[in-house]
């Protein structure tokens, strides 16, 4: 739930447009992924503010399906929160979530794919309508065991890492790296449930609470104390929107700690120029910019170069807030992920490193549609780490 009523502050938006840019006005391009994609004034944080006010407060226009599409094309990447010069700017993303809640509660038209997403999570515990029993299939043959009392970490994989074939690569590599480092961990396999991060962002607060309560109960029963997540989205949900009784780590934080303590010794090499793409839910939403870079920098032979838009100025892959599934904003050649891979390519890197299964699938697709697959490969940091351990 938003801590401030959007109706009290939304008229303060001046539509000055800082929200469309990166904080440092990067010359590479607009930093709001929906504005980048659509370029009409409507598809921007300020556009949304004005439309919401016109439709829900002033009744100047009707709430339509098109308006819902605009609202749901926002990936909640948090760039506008970072760049808005006004004090109410910190509430922008929360406002959009609150409006999503309101339009769902008041039964206004909502894109079909959004409804389908909720239905899938509710009925199947995952976004993809895949059978629950298949959730742990990615781990077959890897010797990764189910979590049991006394294990130090629950490895929470999330829907994307569990079911998406591209993102499964990251889940597998991370599993192997943790095995190599002798981390005491287990997974929930078919018992694992959607973390609800996207559901919350999409405004289905009831379903989010349902998922949260189910997960908390499951974790408690299993005796979970520490959770390591593959996805920054799960990390965000557990860290900021669950009860706080579990210690939560994104896997890059765990790897950094293991390297620092000497538990994970990297003897091998990864000879490549690599650029790192900050995931929004690790970076802007949770201010973890260093751990992934520290991990990459410990790998011999790896030359880390930065894209112009990095850290708090990073450009979102466009997949957040379930856009990776709904495709509302993530469609066509003009979508954010395509621009992002071009930006990565221009650094001279041959590897685009990510630390998020959503970014992995979005950017991998974009590399193909941009015809750059010969020039640059997208790899999760877990994959790079695994390769460096075996090289």
């Amino acid at each position: 739930m938003a801590d401030v009523d959007y109706k009290e502050i939304i008229h303060r938006c001046f539509r000055c447009g800082f929200c469309k840019l990166s904080y440092d006005y990067s010359s590479v391009g607009f930093n709001c992924p929906m504005y980048h994609r659509f370029r009409l004034e409507t598809y921007s944080p300020s556009g949304l503010n004005w439309l919401i006010r016109a439709a829900l407060i002033k009744n100047d226009i009707e709430w339509t399906e098109h308006l819902s599409e605009i609202l749901y094309s926002c990936s909640t990447c948090g760039n506008c929160v970072e760049t808005c010069r006004f004090e109410f700017g910190e509430h922008l993303v929360n406002n959009f979530i609150a409006v999503r809640e309101e339009i769902l509660e008041t039964q206004r038209p909502v894109p079909k794919m959004i409804r389908k997403f909720f239905e899938n999570v509710y009925l199947y515990g995952n976004a993809y309508r895949e059978p629950r029993e298949a959730r742990g299939n990615w781990a077959q043959g890897l010797g990764i065991k189910e979590f049991e009392q006394g294990d130090e970490y629950l490895f929470y994989v999330g829907c994307v890492g569990s079911y998406d074939t591209c993102s499964q690569r990251a889940a597998k590599s991370l599993g192997k790296v943790m095995q190599k480092a002798s981390v005491s961990f287990g997974i929930l396999g078919e018992k694992e449930e959607c973390d609800g991060n996207e559901v919350r962002l999409l405004g289905e607060q009831g379903l989010f609470e349902h998922q949260r309560d189910k997960n908390v109960e499951l974790f408690r029963e299993a005796g979970v104390k520490k959770i390591v997540t593959l996805s920054p989205h799960s990390y965000n949900a557990f860290k900021n929107h669950y009860a706080g009784e579990f210690e939560v780590f994104h896997y890059t934080q765990l790897l950094r700690d293991l390297i620092e303590s000497g538990t994970l010794a990297i003897s091998g090499k990864f000879e490549a120029t690599v650029t790192y793409h900050d995931p929004c839910f690790l970076g802007r939403h949770n201010l973890e910019y260093d751990a992934p870079r520290e991990v990459l920098n410990t790998i011999g032979g790896l030359n880390l170069v930065e894209m112009e838009r990095n850290r708090k100025n990073a450009f979102c892959c466009g997949g957040g807030s379930a856009n990776f599934y709904t495709g509302i904003s993530a469609k066509g050649k003009d979508q954010a992920s395509n621009a992002r891979v071009r930006e990565a390519y221009e650094t001279g890197a041959t590897i685009l490193a990510v630390a998020c299964p959503v970014c992995l699938l979005m950017l991998e697709d974009a590399v193909k549609t941009e015809g750059l697959d010969e020039q640059i490969q997208v790899k999760d940091i877990s994959e790079i780490m695994m390769e460096s351990l075996t090289n």
Partner: protein, 464 residues
Amino acid sequence: MGNDSVYNALVEIVGEDYASNQPEELYMYSVDSGTEGPRKVDYVAMPKTTEQVRDILLLANEHRVPITPMGANLTLNGLGLPVNGGIVLDMKRMDRIIELNKLSRYVVVEPGVTQGRLGTYIEKNCPELEHSRPEAPPMATVVGNIVIRGHGFLAVKYGNNASQINGMEVVLPTGEICKTGSFSVSQLPFSKGPLPDLSALFCGWNGTTGVITKLSLKLFPKRKTMDIVGYAVHDVELVPDLLWRITQTDMVDNLFVVGFVFGDSGESPQYVTVCFTGDIDEELEHKKAVFQKIAEEFDRAAPGKVEFLYPVTEMLTSRFIEKPPYVSPALAADFEHGGGYRYCGAILTVDKMPQAWRTGIELARKHGTNFLSGTQIMGYCHSVNFCFVYPFNRADEESMERVRRAMRDTNEAVLAMDGIPWKAEVEAQKLISRKMDPNSYNLIQRIKETLDPNGIMNPGNWSK
């Protein structure tokens, strides 16, 4: 697609994603951040190429549909809004920076290039140069700014931005693609050349004479460091002389004056801000000493009236030195937690500043609004742009109406001071037109009719 033939043709030209006749887009493009609008909008289109602009103009002629080019729509006076409906051409997809010529110091941009992006691009690719960047939010387009004869940080040295044009590519209202300046004779857009100044046909006309599709703009040397001194002037009558004295040093890069009256707090002093630059610290020290001496001279003549301020506040440092600045004049929109302000930028002679200040206070009292003024010195005090700023609360229609009334009175007062309202809204254009020499007014109309025989270019502008 439906059977709206204009919409269908727009889709044909720019693609489905970049044309709209849906209520959401029509609403967004019918209002701006000031108090103008909502105005009727029938279509929105975002062209990507000059040829697409031409095709849209031909279409508009065929169907007699009005066209309004728009950059970021940040004039606050509704100049990017159609007066009589039709197609809004959002130019921001034409966003290429085509050339940066270091030796001849110019840059060629498309009309969607924003001030923020151009600044960063020059900084990255040629840090020795800069353009005269306005304080408008970084989304403001470079072309939108020259169309309204706007001004940037270097205005005190080089005048307004329209005087920094080398040449343009323009699509005329009847669809011909035309070039101005040396561009029209050679491939090199490096100078206005010894030619009739055709670029002037597109500056100050509020987009009613053609659609600019390329612009060559002058760049200037950028010194290595900058510093700021200020003066708090407790007698507004002293301001013109002080500004004259400061500009006489020929050492100023930016010169700005601010004053405000908020609620019952009384009048603030006039804060004169002087930005100056150098390549070595000693140069800055020397300049600072000169500016300090000026304060001492004024103090001897009028004790206690002119205070020298150094260092200046963090706010000023952020606004003028920090990159990117956190502090922007946009923040004035939140002074009343209301999301908006209007301002009348009055192009005045420098001696009128005290009168303008008193007028602003009077009108703010009369209409029950707060008041602040920001004055950009243009050229060596050749003129000033004295901005009468009135904040309002967008959630309170009454407060918006008060500001509309204050603006009306201000426009009249400015004309009575022999000044001219800048980027005048339609109502102010009428006031100016009525005061204008009739032959000058008729010449404007004849030029418009010649260029735009079907009257499709945002009709309603520059009429009586």
